[in-house]
Symmetry: C5
Subunit: 313 residues, 5 copies
């Protein structure tokens, strides 16, 4: 579907006008949104707007990273929305000219719809034109990154309180890969903002860049949160390995102490359990008590020896 929105020089808002209306002289600025366009609609990028073939190719194909290209008369932006469920990026392409903004996306983009409503009902940005709309779209997209990251931070905090078991490690792994996914979107968006702020050639005037600086702040904050959360997960995992190796030591000590004490004693008992006819000790009056004493001495010696090695600490 193609949605058009026109602001006339006397600041009226017209919506859903035909494309031919866009070149009328009374137009202050306009916004055309290609929302999951058909192939035929998409072909208007070329036939009606005459955008550069490379930019159109970037619209039609999916494999893009956030970026900014300069063309004559307009800048071309690829922006990345985050899908709150999959944490995967969803592409929104924008052509930004002095008096127009053309947006292009195959997936639902609630951020665009929201800004559109605010223009129509709140008269937002009527006077300021397409660059201001672009700011509001970006601001909205970046604001939408926070809930995803907050949700991850919350699970991480729960994790820290939790007991260390196999589950924990799998959750740590899940969180790490979620952070990795977010990073793949947020870092290139941060670089994009950096380019917008520092470019000589970009269409946005110097005095308006303070607004984009505000978005950049958010992206810096997000980047830092991601990185330090990833370090926290690494720390949890590494401590977990250490703690586990420690517990294993305790378990093995228990096993070894018990075995060390009883195996020799059982061996001694088994000797006198043999059924040979000629075993002089068997008939000797005090044998049983002597063997019990020997067992006591051997058992105690083992315990003292292990005690000295510090295994009972």
């Amino acid at each position: 579907m193609i949605r058009t929105l026109i602001v006339t020089k006397d600041q009226n808002v017209l919506i859903d006008v035909p494309l031919s209306r866009l070149s009328d002289p009374d137009i202050h600025w306009y916004w055309v949104d290609f929302d999951d366009p058909t192939e035929e609609e998409a072909s208007l990028l070329k036939s009606h707007f005459h955008f550069h073939p490379l930019a159109i190719e970037d619209c039609l194909h999916l494999l893009q990273r956030p970026k900014l290209d300069y063309y004559d008369g307009y800048d071309f932006f690829v922006l990345h929305d985050i899908n709150q469920n999959t944490l995967l990026p969803e592409e929104i392409d924008i052509f930004l000219g002095h008096n127009f903004l053309v947006s292009f996306h195959y997936l639902e983009a609630s951020e665009l719809e929201l800004v559109r409503q605010r223009i129509i009902s709140d008269k937002l940005t009527l006077a300021n034109g397409s660059k201001s709309v672009f700011y509001h779209i970006m601001d909205k997209i970046v604001d939408e990154y926070f809930p995803s990251l907050y949700r991850i931070e919350d699970s991480l905090n729960e994790l820290e309180a939790q007991d260390a078991d196999e589950n924990l490690i799998e959750e740590v792994y899940t969180i790490r890969s979620q952070l990795l996914k977010l990073r793949r979107t947020i870092f290139p968006m941060r670089e994009l903002l950096y380019r917008i702020l520092n470019s000589e050639r970009v269409i946005i005037p110097k005095e308006d860049r303070v607004y984009f600086m505000d978005i950049y702040d958010h992206l810096l904050k997000l980047s830092e949160m991601i990185e330090s959360n990833r370090e926290m997960t690494a720390d949890i995992r590494d401590s977990y390995i250490s703690i586990n190796s420690n517990r294993m030591n305790a378990i093995m000590k228990t096993l070894t102490v018990l075995t060390s004490v009883f195996i020799p004693l059982t061996f001694i008992a088994s000797i006198y359990g043999m059924n040979f006819e000629y075993m002089p000790e068997l008939s000797y009056r005090w044998s049983y008590y002597i063997v019990l004493t020997v067992m006591f001495v051997v058992g105690s010696s083992m315990i003292i020896w292990l005690w000295r090695k510090g295994w009972f600490k």
Copy 2:
């Protein structure tokens, strides 16, 4: 609450005057502190001071990182205090103009109170004006980072003397996450100072930057301490894993040696403990001594074999 402080051209200090007094011609400079302001008080940022909406938004919302924005007539700073108990950052926002400083914070900020007292009682910075006050606030904030880090370093030093057990690993983990928290505050503050020192546009004159250089030195020192403490904790943890794996080897060797020696012997004894009627060895005169000899040989062989494998080292 709003606290005002005025220095007149003849260097008198007036406190708690109404805001309307601030525009009087005899005023050398003034400082207005919004200390946990009500919503109504906060609205004065807009209605009375006419600060930029983006800066006001940064004051009212919590998610900020230390930063510096340039606006016409003033610079806007977000500074981060460290809460000594939680090690979390607490935000202090500052508008710095040529003859005024407006500070804004929701949480208690003892640093501000301290500087305020010194202005009133010690006549500190009366002649130098708002930029000098700003320096003293920053200096105080950064000085307050040290106790937290020193406390961490102390626990780390105690840890190094300590025996390696499960506790140690949990303490190492705690220290690592405390360092991570401090880093989230101190690194952006260091970058902020770097920007102040190297910016062409900042309101602070070149000749006064040597004072901010002094603060920057402290932040560099703090950064290095954090990083090298984190490396030390990593080293402690990694050595701990190594030592544990070594102890495990020792434990398992003990277990295996004992088992290896006694299990075959006990098996031999158990054979002659069987109650079959027809076991010719049982009635043979020397059987018992022969079996004891065989046991001695088998046991010794096992010990010699293990000795040769180096398991007694």
Copy 3:
């Protein structure tokens, strides 16, 4: 074999003409492809084209990385194709002049053949000349990197669903070394594109660089995919170690619990299995039941003790 292709000023395409024809005045531009040349053919680089000895040496020897050298009248590029089977790089060398392109390669280069066919049949780039051909070759080469990386990503995704066993670790290792191989080709290609885009001296005019920017985007995307896939494999491996250490704990607990309970009991039984003549307990009426009770108490105590240590969780 040497393949020639000439475009005349009136945009005819001639193929397989002799080299002497290349200097004719009616020639708009030409492309000479050395496809697995004989030594004699290779010597034409020197005798006919008079290229710089260092560039010729780079053609003849294999140990090169992607690079760009400036010479008088032409730029010299070393490009790397990826062999889809081995993932190893295959070298394609290109001399790019204002009206000529000379390519040189010992291995099959389907990308070149493809571009050549499109020139002949689709009249592609006839007017634009050698630099446009160069763009199409590079574009094709970089497009060919994706299938290899996609295949690796697919195996990685399968791996994530899979059970953790020894196989998994070997596959992780295989994937990591495949990613390492791709990185050795893709990173230097990315740097090469960066140089082309930012060089003052390169033969490609500023207005055509937007096309190379498009290739650079692809290489950035590829680089990020490689790095984040490598991080994912590291995460899989590290989680695997953690999970394994946890399982080991469970196994050892089972063993230790069983041994702890039964070894003392078996020892007690073995005492009364001894055959001494004088063992007063043997003839006592209630001995058997007392011993069974003692065994029950000892066994239960062990179980309670281990339960309290939390080994049954």
Copy 4:
């Protein structure tokens, strides 16, 4: 104590003159050394030399890192000596003017004493003045870093030859933390030298910088030695963990093989050790031999099974 040294214009050296003598017109240059000064002596920095309060504060307080500050008429340096026993840094502060050098330190600084002796006895640097003295001090300080690092390298080399046991890991850990300590001194000193070499504002003339380049070379070399030694210790530790896990496997295999073979056999024997009245096998003529045969078969089967699993390799 305050030590003065004056070189007059006719190149006489006077020592221990009063401070008032320093402003005499016949003075070519002078050096004042504050060696563990009293509070009163330290106050001369302010009252006699009128140095900047920030620089004086840096002298009096301990928490500094190597650095360079520019003030009117002099540069202020903080240098770090390494204490050969503790490997901790010891601070030496230097004010360097065109015809004077003022040094300040609370701890013994043999490097200063050495340079001082060479000036007095060898007439070193008499004509070149304070900047040349400064070079000799720095050169001496950096030369003194080497013995500490060589000692660490020596222990590391011994370690490599050594057997892998718990001791080794503790020594590796000790060496790692010693390297960390050295790094905390040497890296900032290297950065300081870099600033001296590249600064436009520093008091040292361009033509003399070749001497400081020589010191910088040493610091680069030291930095590389530290980093590559740290990597070596990490490698030793990581290999040690691998080797240990391998040995553990061998130990556990031995234990498991022995247990696997003898536990079933002992169980069989224990069955026929039971004292039931009605056990038909007991009185059967060939039982004993049959049981022995069964035992042989079971034991051999276990061994063959384990052999096939590759546990005897």
Copy 5:
């Protein structure tokens, strides 16, 4: 020994002439090689050539890293040869002037000898002078790095095919430390080449730098090979640890299964092996068969329980 080589203006080559001959007017350029010089010969650097004391000091002392210093009339280079046996660097120092090259080395330097022979017999570089000789020396030195690295790569490839045992880890460790050694030479050499290529002050003219670019390419390639080989060894080692932990799990499962099944059974048998007079079960007709049945049930239960836990997979 001191070896001289003179090229006269009419392109004759004279060798082993006295040093006094070097200043004759018919000399085009000359090369003096100090090959393991005596102290007396080394003193000629100062007395005859009047080189800078810092450069001479660098020649006489061993602790250098590859570097370039600019002096009036000549550049001073420290180059590092790799000893193929020890992989340790061997220093070659070079003074390069417009019409002379002075080389200085204590250890055998076959690269110099080779270049010298080619000048004498092949008339190499006769016209181009000292800078061309310098290029050929560097080219030779860097070419000699490859065999060492190839040898390491070969052992690494063999390693990948090999079975994972303790040996493998020690070889991995050896390879890692060999790579570390090579890196200590090759990385600073690469930086040196970078400086030569980008320096404004170096004695080599811009148009000749393409030759040094060729050497720089080699060093980049070598650096990448070292880094990616180091990553491969880390991968091998980390996979090895994972695989080992997996095998340990398998071993421990075997042990635990066997113990779990037989220990309770042996305990039951041992009860009825006790010799009490009053054990009613002993004389009961079906006891033996009941006990055998109980044993069968207990053993089967254990096996089923372990099967359910997935220990037989």
